[in-house]
Structure formats: structure tokens, C-alpha cells
Point group: C2
Chain length 218, copies 2
């Protein structure tokens, strides 16, 4: 067996690999809609299977490391954080796949005009995902704390999109189905941002040994 | 320190306590809409804080049990399952609170007629939550496997509700906002069912030591 420390680094590396794939799926799940390219959606659907396999591999590695070693408190926190972050990443992959499926349905009809700022929402969310994983890789609680602040921006833009789409649904009944499809994609992005928030909270717990969940002050 | 076995039973008990509270919140979050009773929604919003505190207590207990003991494989699986089930329960509580908030908004306007079968959907979902937790308490992989089958029923009824509401939104623009509110509550229930599915998969892993996630055959 390799040295425990190396195994832990290997675990972080696998999470980083999974995060990169998840981030690419989130990006493509919105790009396929804005660029009207169904191939991108198909890629997201295919990659979800790879993400699922990575989730199982990471879980197994983390459980093996806990079982075979007697981790001290900080290593134990890393392993628990890895298990939780792994779950969040897999759910993000699911949400991206859900968006990709909705986008494929939306591509069967003409786009709505003017479009809603879905790409801007996706940019914000992808940035949160990026920063939460970087905070995990670098053990940086301050960086993780900053991610939590970005969640408000996501909620604001999501609300704007909802309001805009609701109004248009009231005015043009022919838009109802397409507006709903767009709404559900916006909702998926908001939920992905929530998972990035969860990851950031886990990083703060990991670094400081303090549980910041469910507290307004961090 | 108490005997490890007793501590593990205590952990199961706490999860059972949390599950009971979460189930009650799910029930009230729909009942407040169907009975038009805002007090029930307020209770759900208050209880969410209790659920959050329970989540932290359960996580801390599970982490302490792993750190202070050297659990054998099956106990280790129980502790990992407890951590995962705990997260799922907390998310269910969040979703119930979200439904309660939407219900409060819906109560400001007259109800939609005829109503959608939201209570029937909630009954199905509550039953899944119940059975997934019972399977955990009784270490029953077969019971957990049966929960997975119920998810299709939930998806079917949710689709029916979506289709019904979409049609009515197209026909009556005055219904758009209220139909959207109902749709989001139905969506929350579907996501709660997904969490019950996650819990059941964790129970199968716990009992059989086999990871059944992302496989169609269990």
C-alpha cells in the first residue's frame, strides 16, 4: 500500500478530475441551448455515465482509506468532506443532464425572442463551481467563504429570468411550453449553485473544524 | 464511553427522529395548500431550523464514532450510510420548506379549479420516505429495493400534473402564476422522492456491501 498521505492526494486528484468533467457538462448543457447544437446535449448525456462511475470509485477509495488507516482528526475531516463533495458533484452532473434533455426538447421549436440571459446565469454558476473546488484543492477557507456570497447574485438573476418568463407566458400563450423549458433549466442552474455552496461549507468545516452550515455568519 | 454497539443504535435512533420530523414537514407543506391553512406552512418553516440542528448533531456523532473506534467493514458501511442519509433528509426538509413558502404565496389568491392531485402525489412520496427509513432501521435490502420501484409511479403522476397545468396555462393566462406555483411544489415532491431513492440505494449498499447506484438491475 502506498503512503497514506499519497493516497489522500490521489483522492483529491480524483475529485478534481470529476469536478472538471462536471463543469464541462454544466457548460455544454447551456451552450447546446444558446448555440442550438444538439450534439453538445448528447455529449452531456453520455458523460453522465462517466461521472457516475467516478462517483463510485471516489466513494470506494474514501471508505477504504478510512477503514485501513486510523485517520487523525484533520485527515478524517478530509475523508468525510470528500464523501460529501463527491455526492454534490454527482448531483450537479444529474442536473446538467436534466438541462441537456430539456434543451433537446426546446431545440425542436423556434427559440424565444428575446432570449433570457441563461448564458450569464451559467457563467455565474460555473464560476462558483470552479472556485468551490479550487478552495477544496488549496484548503482555502477564505476563498470558500467568498463563494457563499456569490449565491445571492445567482438568486437575483434567476428571479429576473423567472419574472421575465412568467410575464411573457401571461402575454403569449404560444410561449408557455418553451418558457417552462427555459425556467426549468434556470432552476437546474440555481440548484447547481446550491451544491457549490454545500461544497464551500464543507471546505470551511474541513479547514477550520467548525460547522458553518445553517448559520448566517461565517 | 458507552459500548460502540449502543452508540450505533443511538445513531440509528437519531436518524429515525429526524426522519419523523422531515416526514411531518413534507405532509404539512402540501396540506397547508390543500386545506388553505397558512399556520401549517409556518410550522414547516419553524421546524426546518430543528431539522438543521439535528443534521449537525448526527454528522458529529457519526464522525466521532469513526474517529474513536476502528469500525469493521459492516459498521463502517453503517456510518457512511448514516452520513449520506442524514444529508438526504436535510435536503428533503429544505424542499418541504420551499413548498411551504410557495404555498403561502398561493394562499394569497383563489385556488385553481379543479385542483391538481397534489395530495395523491404527496401520499406516494411520503410512503416512499417512510419505507426507505423503515428499510434502514430494519436493515432490509428487499424492502429498500421495493422503494426504488415506486419512483416510476411518482414520475408518472408528476408528469400528469405538469401536463394538466401546462394546458391550463395556455388556455387561461390569468392562471399562469398559480399554475407555476403548483408546478414547483410538484417538482419539490418529485425531488423528495429522488432523495428517498438515494436512501434506499444506501440501505442496499449497507446490507449487501454492493453499490447499486447507477445500475438498472438491483
Amino acid at each position: 500500500m502506498r503512503h497514506f498521505f499519497e493516497e489522500l492526494e490521489g483522492l483529491r486528484g480524483k475529485i478534481c478530475e470529476m469536478a472538471a468533467l462536471v463543469k464541462s457538462s454544466i457548460h455544454k448543457s447551456v451552450l447546446c441551448l444558446t448555440e442550438r447544437n444538439p450534439d453538445l446535449a448528447e455529449q452531456v448525456i453520455r458523460d453522465e455515465a462517466v461521472i457516475n462511475r467516478l462517483e463510485i470509485a471516489i466513494d470506494e477509495l474514501a471508505i477504504r482509506l478510512v477503514s485501513l488507516n486510523q485517520p487523525v482528526a484533520s485527515d478524517m475531516r478530509l475523508l468525510v468532506a470528500a464523501l460529501k463533495i463527491n455526492t454534490d458533484l454527482e448531483r450537479m452532473g444529474d442536473l446538467a443532464m436534466n438541462s441537456a434533455r430539456r434543451a433537446l426538447m426546446l431545440l425542436e421549436a423556434p427559440p424565444i425572442h428575446p432570449p433570457v440571459p441563461m448564458q450569464a446565469l451559467s457563467d455565474l454558476v460555473e464560476d462558483m463551481v470552479d472556485r468551490s473546488i479550487k478552495a477544496f484543492m488549496e484548503n482555502d477557507a477564505d476563498a470558500a467563504k467568498n463563494v457563499l456570497l456569490a449565491d445571492d447574485q445567482v438568486d437575483r438573476l434567476r428571479n429576473e429570468i423567472y419574472e421575465n418568463l412568467s410575464q411573457r407566458m401571461e402575454e403569449q400563450s404560444g410561449l408557455v411550453r418553451r418558457a417552462l423549458g427555459n425556467m426549468f433549466i434556470a432552476r437546474n442552474l440555481e440548484r447547481i449553485a446550491d451544491h457549490a455552496t454545500n461544497i464551500s461549507e464543507d471546505v470551511i468545516f474541513l479547514v477550520r473544524g467548525v460547522d458553518v452550515r445553517h448559520h448566517s455568519e461565517v
